[in-house]
Amino acid sequence: MRLWLGICLLLFVCGESGAFAAAPIRYEDQVVRLHVSKREVDPSSPWQSEDTVQQEFLGVVLPNGEILTTANTVANAIFIEMQRFGSTERGEAALVFVDYEVNLALVKPVATAQLLATKAVTLGEDVGMDESVEIFKGRDAYQLSRLPASLQDVAVIGAATSAYGLISYALKVQQNGLGWSEPVFLHGKLVGLTTGQDQNFVQAAPMLLIRHFLSDHHDQSYRGFPAMGVQLEPLLSPDTRRLIGAGSASGGVRVAEVFANSPFLGKLQTNDVVLAVDGVAVSEQGFVTHPTWGKVHLKYLLNRHFGGDELVLKGLRQGREFTVQAPLQRFDSNRAPVVTYSYGEPQPHLIFAGLVFRELSQDYLKQWGKDWRDIAPSDLLFTLNFANKVTAQANTRRIFLVRVLADPFNRGYTELRHKLVATVNGRPIAGLSDLRAALARPVRMNGKDYARIQFAPVGEEVILGMDGLAEAQARMARTYEIKTAASFYGMP
């Protein structure tokens, strides 16, 4: 015991000083700057991009020469440069792998010479509550600087780059401007990567996630992070417990809904009580006990699993206990009708007669700034919040009219915007492919073909003749300088 304490003390002292007498750790060799040129799609004109912006992040060198950083670093990236601390040289880096759900990514220098002077980090373990760590800041400087921080909380929060619930550190620190993939070290070992900051608290991905991500990726067949597909609610009310037959049980959370894509569909039902996950007892508020962190939300248990793993639940249905098991599926934020993210991907859209249609996405709503959840158009926010349930059919999307490219062909409709499409030519629309297919079957009236586009919930209709469509669209392409002919309906 005394020997162990001595080793710990030695590690602590060395870690604090940042230098072993025999082999000092040069963090500058393990941490690199990543200069990223980013370009997002123009949400209202999805055939073109917004201005390119440059941002700086940090990454750490892994033993295999790859650089670990957050997915936020590479989101919408079109060019990445790597730079060692102490060097003015920049070298191109390429994306190796990214998982936006867990907000982690790997990049690699294109020329291996860039790695010559670098050293790999040593991966550490998860940090204990109140333990002191160091955050290395330097994305906007030529030198790394150390900031003392301490672990104040461990909680499941929404990933910065997806809708997935992730276990995350809350590190208390007296410094602003963090959350740009700065590495967190303890005793010379990597113990986390920062993902965001809220006042004096920096969020960071713990090693649980980083090790999961790295081992999964190095297995060649990435299985990802799973979810249960079940909405669970706290079960504090004694009345609710008695109503659903859980009055005599202790702990457990109520199954509020089993989603259409859940592996537990047909195995769990509303008002079942989940008493334990993976054999770990669940409290009435949905927490489980972690040996180091104490009370943590049960979703954390899913972060330990891989897609395809079996999950065992102990449940209670009207007073009778049961055990149920199902293979977990990799979580996909974009499985819901409203798209969560599409970093770097083309924004699916279609222009018909100047009417610009696209899939409703959070990327679109975020153009209203940091308060987008309050000030974006309420019809679209309502759809996101109340009409966004996962359906049995994959690829269901909410299609809406972004705006109208004013032209004599569509006069009378030029003021329309932010209208959700219900039907086209009498056919329900649940995706851009539905829209294309429906437009290909025009309505015949008075000897001519027409497109009838009806919007929800009011029922306003746009009715436009198909005659002269190609000519009008060609004119619009010239007027609005739309160079991607495929953006238009019916154009090659």
Binding site: R242, S378, Y413, M445, K448, Y450, V458, G465
Partner: protein, 513 residues
């Protein structure tokens, strides 16, 4: 400095334009018929609706219209508990009561309470009404702006005549006239005159625009006076139509319906189930004319020499009148006669001016109805700060099948903490959908379901949320009286309808909105 003379010349021209009314106003001839109205109002609390907010003092303007009646704005006397009227130059105010109040068109009629007052008022010369003013004609607004003691006159020019929102009501639209002169607090209810004739009643302004005011024109005022002629105010009819204005401007859209580009008309997108037009007008109909007035593709008709929204014609009808639409339906032109009648009971998220909002308190949970006032408890920026579901339902519930037949939209407004509700899920500002699984459409049905249900547990389900409230009925029954006594909840419910007007309660009026 070289540009200064030019600026000065320009400024002088502008001042001259404003300072030279075409018709000189003889104020002495009018001042005896114009009153300063002073009001003490008690509004109900929206979050604890059994209570009244602290009394508020305010003032406005009114004018004598004959038969012992003084006309003013509804918002001047809304929720009034005490009203006095005072003529310019008089020493003693006369106690008055609200006889009729019309929140939809922001007009009210006052009468002196005491015989002496009635006698004094009856001696006055009533002001007479003119017609709709011409665009760009000069007008004079008379009143007691900013609570002043002397009458003030503001000159202006008629700049627009349109069919627009009356903010006192929140959602009602009627004909109004915009003038380019300031209408300040205290001017409200004052006459706007041309010569000696009243051509409107001053009532609202734009806070961002310093010299833009709005007046209620005489067609709306005359309609109000005709409406109350039988001793009861029935209100403006609601056509319940949502149209797609401008669509027939498109030649191919017109051709689809077999119309030529100059045929005019508007397409109907939605017809409210509670409106008098329901079942008579259908979505997809083209409205070509109303009462033989052709409707343009801009949804406007010719009205007193100006072009205004076609709804103006429907809006100015009285209950019992008829409106005839020329409709194109399935290629056939037909006349559709719509009897003008009150809308069926339905949820309306307007301002509430009742003595109390409709509410019900159960197990210390305060449920009330969604209204504009309730949303405004989130402050001036309620349209972004209030919960999304509430502000969305305020504008769009009428279009959602889930709420189409609702009489009320019921919101959990507050929890009065007690052991019986200590563990209910956080559903604050949630919208009630069902009790014990049965859909709830009105506050009466809600109170009934919770009060008379017999199951061991009462369960309340909310829209868009799977986390229901479960309460043991026996326990609630034993705690209800205790909770209500502790928090001063008296009574535990208020289920009165539209006839429950705060101003008529407060001043013993008789008219009903």
């Amino acid at each position: 400095m070289r540009f200064m003379p030019m600026v000065c010349r320009l400024l002088c021209v502008l001042l001259l334009v404003h300072a030279a009314p075409a018709v000189a106003l003889n104020l002495n001839a009018l001042r005896s018929s114009i009153f300063k109205i002073q009001v003490i109002a008690d509004e109900p609390s929206l979050t604890e609706p059994w209570k009244r907010l602290p009394s508020a003092h305010s003032s406005g303007t009114g004018f004598y219209i004959g038969e012992g009646r003084i006309l003013t704005n509804a918002h001047v006397v809304a929720n009034a508990s005490f009203v006095t009227v005072l003529r310019d130059g008089d020493a003693a105010p006369i106690a008055a009561r609200v006889r009729f109040i019309a929140h939809d068109c922001d007009l009210a009629v006052l009468e002196p309470v005491e015989a002496e007052g009635v006698k004094a008022v009856l001696k006055l010369e009533p002001m007479s009404f003119g017609s709709l003013p011409k665009l760009r004609s000069p007008v004079s607004t008379i009143g007691f702006p900013a609570g002043g003691e002397q009458l003030s006159i503001t000159e202006g020019i008629v700049s627009r005549i349109s069919y627009h929102r009356y903010i006192h009501h929140a959602n009602a639209r009627h004909l109004l006239v915009q003038v380019d002169s300031a209408i300040n607090p205290g001017n409200s209810g004052g006459p706007v005159v041309q010569g000696r004739q009243v051509i409107g009643v001053a009532f609202q302004s734009i806070s961002q625009a310093q010299s833009t005011g709005y007046i209620i024109p005489t067609p709306v005022v005359r309609r109000f006076l005709r409406d109350i002629a039988n001793g009861r105010y029935e209100g403006h009819p609601d056509d319940g139509l949502t149209t797609m204005d401008g669509a027939l401007l498109n030649p191919s859209t017109a051709a689809f319906y077999g119309l030529s580009p100059d045929s005019g008309g508007v397409t109907v997108a939605f017809v409210s189930a509670w409106a008098p037009t329901a079942t008579l007008i259908r979505p997809g109909d083209i409205l070509l004319a109303i009462d033989d007035q052709p409707i343009g593709v801009d949804a406007k008709v010719s009205f007193s020499g100006e072009r205004v929204d076609f709804r103006t014609i429907f809006d100015l009808k009285l209950m019992g009148d008829k409106v005839v639409f020329q409709v194109l339906r399935d290629g056939q032109s037909l006349k559709v006669e719509v009897p003008v009648k009150p809308s069926l009971p339905h949820h309306a998220t307007d301002h509430i001016y009742a003595k109390h909002p409709r509410y019900f308190v159960y197990a210390g949970l305060v449920f009330t109805v969604l209204s504009r006032n309730f949303l405004q408890t989130w402050g001036d920026r309620w349209y972004r700060d209030a919960p999304l579901l509430l502000r969305y339902l305020e504008s769009d519930a009428v279009y959602l099948p889930d709420f189409a037949t609702n009489r009320d939209i019921i919101v959990l407004a507050k929890r009065l903490p007690d052991g019986v509700n200590a563990y209910v899920p956080n559903q604050l500002f949630g919208v009630v959908r069902a009790v014990d699984g049965k859909t709830i459409l009105s506050m009466e049905a809600f109170a009934q379901a919770l009060s008379t249900g017999t199951g061991e547990f009462a369960t309340i389900q909310f829209f868009g949320n799977q986390d229901q409230i479960v309460l043991g009925r026996a326990k609630v029954l034993s705690r209800n009286a205790i909770i209500n006594a502790k928090y001063g909840v008296v009574p535990d419910r208020w289920l009165n309808g539209a006839s429950d007007d705060g101003a008529l309660h407060g001043t013993e009026g008789e008219g009903r909105p």
